[in-house]
């Protein structure tokens, strides 16, 4: 038993904060990938041919049902020449796209049938129908959910440390190992998570209330 060493905590804080930048970067870019890819998947899921929709849904279901960590480690082991951070962002993005696509799908399903029929009646092209009518209505409902996924993803970014991305937990773990100060390192990393994620989730709750969810 050696208690909590405040000096070690002071030493590790700058390292953790440096890692935090990488964590944030991965979260933001990962969310972006998930937002864009999820939308593409949702639209593809509405394709007229079952040869498109069935495989797309199956793959998404598979991705959703299997562990992110295995997906990350597997991808890093297979694509050895790609930079770990890139792999991390892409895999995070794809994994979460499997969720966001469902949110988009619900949003698209929520657009009243009459809207589609009105577009038909006006002879809008499918492209215009999606662009000008359906997506703007769907996306508004989807925004709070995307925010919540971003928070979820943020809390899962430590997985990237496993594939040697030098984010917050990676730094904490390295310091912990070098100085045998795991207690201080992980406590601080945890606190940084709490300080960052709690206000964000409060903000999201407010946003959700505001948008009437």
């Amino acid at each position: 038993m050696n208690g909590f060493d405040w000096n070690a905590a002071g030493d590790v804080l700058p390292l953790v904060l440096r890692g935090f930048e990488v964590t944030l970067l991965a979260t933001v870019l990962g969310t972006l990938v998930a937002a864009v890819l999820g939308l593409a998947v949702a639209v593809a899921g509405r394709a007229p041919s079952r040869f498109v929709t069935v495989p797309v849904r199956a793959v998404m279901e598979f991705i959703r049902s299997t562990p992110l960590l295995v997906q990350l480690v597997g991808a890093a082991a297979f694509f050895t020449s790609v930079e770990p951070l890139t792999i991390g962002i892409v895999v995070l993005g794809i994994h979460y796209a499997a969720y966001t696509s469902e949110v988009y799908r619900a949003g698209i399903d929520g657009v009243p049938k009459g809207q589609w029929e009105a577009c038909r009646a006006l002879s809008l092209s499918p492209r215009r129908t999606w662009q000008a009518v359906v997506l703007p209505q769907a996306v508004r409902k989807v925004l709070p959910a995307l925010g919540n996924y971003a928070i979820s993803m943020f809390k899962e970014t430590p997985f990237l440390a496993v594939i040697t991305v030098q984010e917050m937990v990676f730094e904490a773990r390295r310091y912990g190992a070098d100085h045998f100060a795991y207690t201080e390192a992980f406590t601080l990393a945890g606190l940084v998570f709490l300080v960052a994620s709690y206000p964000t989730s409060l903000l999201m709750r407010k946003l959700e209330k505001r948008l009437g969810h």
Partner: protein, 246 residues
């Protein structure tokens, strides 16, 4: 047959013990999470501010700090700080239980609040005690509402079990990676691991759907044909694990 699969069939005992560790962590972790969900969820609706406050702080703490860090903290930081050391499996069970118990408490609270106020009033009119109201009237009705979000949480918990590998718990992932190192068949190894997890997730979903069906039948609600094979709603999974949920 590829090298990987012949290595796999040569090492069935290890595979089985790895699977056993993963299943143990899933089941025991879920049971702990279930228990905490009810304790924290019931505390969250207590008329006493202090009790609600304690629940709120515990829930926000375990939702706000990453599961990964909680697990590492238990494994690496707790022994030097307290002198107590948990086995890797137990670290996993405790971390999964605490983390998902915090999420689950929101499910319990939400489901209880979703039972119509009128049901509560009818129970008051029949002079049931507060405990009887909860146990006989409110919880049995809320339970049906809890099962789908609990299913989501259960699958999320299952998906976190490969973390055990990082604290040397000799779980399924550890075993498969050893075989992969031995055979060099990266793609086959990881796809196999993913497939096993997919099957596990599907089996658990099926079990939970069965549970939901019995619970619905008990309320005389329609169960819907074919609902047994349907998968989970990914949309609900946002609400249950994102932390933005009310």
């Amino acid at each position: 047959m590829s090298d990987f699969f012949s290595a796999l069939s040569d090492n069935l005992p290890q595979l089985r013990s790895g699977l056993w560790v993963t299943l143990q962590a899933t089941v025991l972790g879920s049971l702990l999470a279930l228990l905490l969900s009810f304790v924290l969820g019931l505390m969250a609706i207590s008329p006493m501010l202090a009790v609600r406050g304690v629940s709120r702080v515990v829930v926000e703490f375990f939702r706000g700090t990453s599961l990964y860090i909680q697990l590492f903290w238990l494994y690496y930081a707790m022994p030097p700080l307290t002198g107590y050391e948990l086995t890797p499996l137990l670290c996993g069970v405790v971390a999964f239980g605490l983390n998902y118990g915090a999420y689950g408490s929101e499910v319990v609270r939400g489901a209880i609040n979703s039972v119509p106020r009128a049901q509560h009033e009818a129970a008051v009119a029949l002079n049931l005690t507060p405990v009887q109201r909860m146990r006989k009237v409110i919880l049995p009705q809320a339970w049906v509402q809890m099962i789908p979000p609990f299913t989501n949480l259960l699958i999320q918990l299952l998906k976190c079990t490969p973390l055990l590998w990082l604290i040397s718990a000799a779980d399924l992932m550890t075993v498969i990676q050893q075989l992969r190192d031995r055979t060099g068949e990266t793609l086959t190894a990881y796809l196999t691991l993913l497939a096993v997890y997919f099957v596990l997730a599907y089996a658990l979903t099926l079990l939970m759907n069965l549970l939901e069906r019995t619970a619905k039948r008990r309320l005389g609600l329609p169960t819907g044909a074919g609902s047994l094979l349907r998968t989970r709603s990914a949309v609900d999974a946002v609400a249950t694990t994102a932390g933005g949920a009310r």
